[in-house]
Amino acid sequence: MNILLIGAGSAIATAVARRYAAQHSSLFLIARNGSRLALQQQDLLVRGAARVGTRVLDLLNHEEYETAINAATEFFDEEDIDLVLICHGSLPDQEAAEQDFDLARREIDINGLSVISLLTRLTPYLKAQGRGMLAVVTSVAGDRGRQPNFVYGAAKALVSTYLQGLRGKLLPYGVDVLDIRPGLVDSPMTQQFDKGLLWSSPELVARQIEKAIRRKRHTVYVPGYWRLIMAVVRSIPEAVFKRLKF
């Protein structure tokens, strides 16, 4: 498989990339941290990847998107890209983002608008191929605005809603669109939280993501039980929900 991975340094992306490397895929990694990318490239090659290309990109810098994506398409040359997986994200300090619009805008940019921008640039490419999959890691936080993280949730909801529309648009072109909604994942992004029963490892999440990609699913919750949890959360009447602080 030929895979373009954006936000390749995230814990989920790292675990997914390792699974595909073991299957001798070719991977192109885009991430912010250059030294981390170099280590990851070596790691994936030892694990069996056919080829690994890398490109450093700060996703807050929209002007550089074009050249980064061009680097990726050049890397795959004439071959089709089977999978584009967008994994980057940032967990904002909710209190601070509520009080400082510049911060809120930045967080919505990184978690929401940057994804839309990437999708806009990648869609024509996949349409022309007439096949492939666009998969984006969003979050269960996008399912309902909860007091502790609605800035993050709003940005993720933006992406999820966009993907729903895009899925239909790309149907005639044979391009699949997958919305991946992880629950609580024990990763560097969530390091400050005390971990309980509902937390899962990036490796477990990656296994389920790979399965969802193989089965061409539309929206997956990972692990799967989050579908049930979020159905309950969504069903709480607003009159009650507005009083909940979780």
Partner: protein, 459 residues
């Protein structure tokens, strides 16, 4: 993002209840999981806050990876290189044996030493200088380490090998993480013709026969014996000897299998002398009359317990203790007899009683294996267990033996010092490279290698 960056830099982290694999004891600890070598070094250079101990997969049984803060190697798990000609693999300290095997086995390469679980990390394997079923022919894990990068308590790095920074190498191999945090290591590999093991099982009617069979098969590659430690009188020490060698035929393949798991802690009373006695009876009966040769997938051969995820929960909420010691050959039979009789009389016993022969010791200061016979027992924690183990300590020391630090949760400093005469050399180095007491564990305090009070009075 600024927030998450700040968190990574300062090492703010989650607090959790941590234990070793034995689930005894537990402590409340902060977990620091730096993303790379640089941020790991930053944490040590910064030097502030409660002291720490490096922690890999948390598969040592007792308190050797427990402290107020633990420095986790979980994100230091990248492969760096695989050299098929030199037969070496280099990887981060947090890489597990399972990951290495996943990469190596399909290419006909294999790790030279494997513990009874593949979930341990390379850092942990070096810190405990783990051994496998082939110690009598191949030595322990660190005998196959070409070099490693050690982050000293000061935050400086040192490349260590049997010839370079030899002192650090010999102290760190088996040094339970007290000399620093291992960042990466280069390990020698061996070639194997297939992913299968030719396994053979031979029943032994009593201790004498078990030991004779171990001696007799000393040139087989993998040799280990299971012992029924609840059997009494003339059947005392009866068991089954398992032999193995790499099969010449069979595929080189990676198989992943669905694991069963123990999702919650079962009531401890389910493991009692009757259920365990019954289990042991059945196990012995199964092997009693056959002397068969089988081809077994390596994963099933080396790591049978890994297929039951969370088996440590079977021992109930109080947890359990493993007790492993080695006795020199000349004192082995009488010492083991006395140990097994004492255990048998107490009525406490275990599923897992394992007997094996070790080859000669290596030069590392605190490495456990030394020439002789080692026995591993596990015991469900009960308040009256500790006096029994103290009694066993006396038998072990009288026979000139010592205990495995990776299993220990309760040994006294005096028992440790008698078993490990190099302890003062180790402590002198430790005091020199870590004068501020940055690294220490519950175990190192108990064994008199560090002082818990020293650091708190300095802050």
């Amino acid at each position: 993002m600024a927030n998450s960056v700040k968190i990574r830099m300062t090492g703010v982290n989650s607090r959790m209840r941590l234990s070793g694999w034995g689930r005894y004891p537990y402590v409340e600890a902060s977990v620091l999981a730096p993303r790379d070598a640089d941020s790991t070094a930053q944490i040590l250079k910064n030097g502030e806050g409660p002291r720490m101990i490096p922690r890999g997969a948390g598969r040592s049984y007792g308190d050797s990876a427990l402290a107020a803060r633990v420095l986790s190697s979980r994100y230091l798990d990248d492969f760096i290189s695989l050299d098929r000609r030199a037969l070496t693999i280099r990887c981060g300290a947090g890489t597990t044996l399972a990951e290495i095997l996943r990469v190596c086995v399909p290419q006909g390469l294999f790790l030279p030493v494997l513990s009874g679980t593949k979930t341990v990390t390379i850092g942990g394997a070096i810190a405990a200088d783990i051994h496998g079923k082939n110690h009598h022919v191949d030595g322990s894990f660190c005998d196959h380490i070409e070099r490693f990068t050690l982050l000293l308590p000061s935050g400086e790095t040192a490349v260590c090998s049997p010839t370079e920074n030899k002192e650090y190498f010999q102290a760190t191999c088996g040094g339970m993480g007290l000399t620093g945090m291992i960042l990466d290591a280069t390990i020698s590999l061996k070639k194997v013709p297939s992913a299968f093991i030719s396994a053979q099982s031979i029943p032994a009617a009593n201790l004498e026969e078990s030991l004779a069979l171990l001696r007799q098969h000393n040139d087989e590659q993998y040799v280990v014996a299971w012992v029924d430690c609840l059997a009494k009188a003339s059947a005392l020490g009866r068991g089954v000897i398992h032999l193995g060698s790499h099969s010449e035929t069979g595929k080189l393949e990676h198989r992943s299998k669905r694991k069963l798991s123990v999702p919650f802690t079962t009531p401890g009373f389910l493991l009692n002398r009757y259920t365990m006695g019954g289990f042991n009876q059945l196990y012995y009966a199964r092997h009693r009359f056959k002397k068969s040769v089988n081809s077994v997938y390596y994963d099933d051969y080396f790591f049978p317990l890994d297929s039951l995820k969370g088996w440590n929960r079977l021992y109930g909420s109080e947890g359990f203790l493993q007790y492993q010691f080695v006795l020199p050959d000349d004192a082995a039979e009488s010492g083991l007899r006395e140990t097994l009789e004492t255990v048998s009389r107490s009525g406490k016993g275990s599923f897992l009683a394992v007997l094996k022969r070790f080859g000669p010791a290596n030069a590392n200061w605190l490495s456990f294996p030394s020439e002789g016979v080692t026995l591993t027992l596990d015991f469900k924690y009960e308040p009256d267990l500790l006096p029994l183990l103290d009694r066993l300590d006396e038998i072990v020391l009288a026979a000139g033996g010592r205990h495995y630090l990776a299993k220990d949760a309760r040994m006294s400093a005096a028992v440790f010092r008698q078993g490990y005469p190099n302890w003062h050399q180790f402590k002198a180095l430790k005091d020199r490279i870590d004068p501020a007491g940055t690294l220490g564990s519950l175990q190192s305090d108990r064994l008199g290698l560090t002082q818990a009070a020293m650091r708190s009075s300095q802050r």
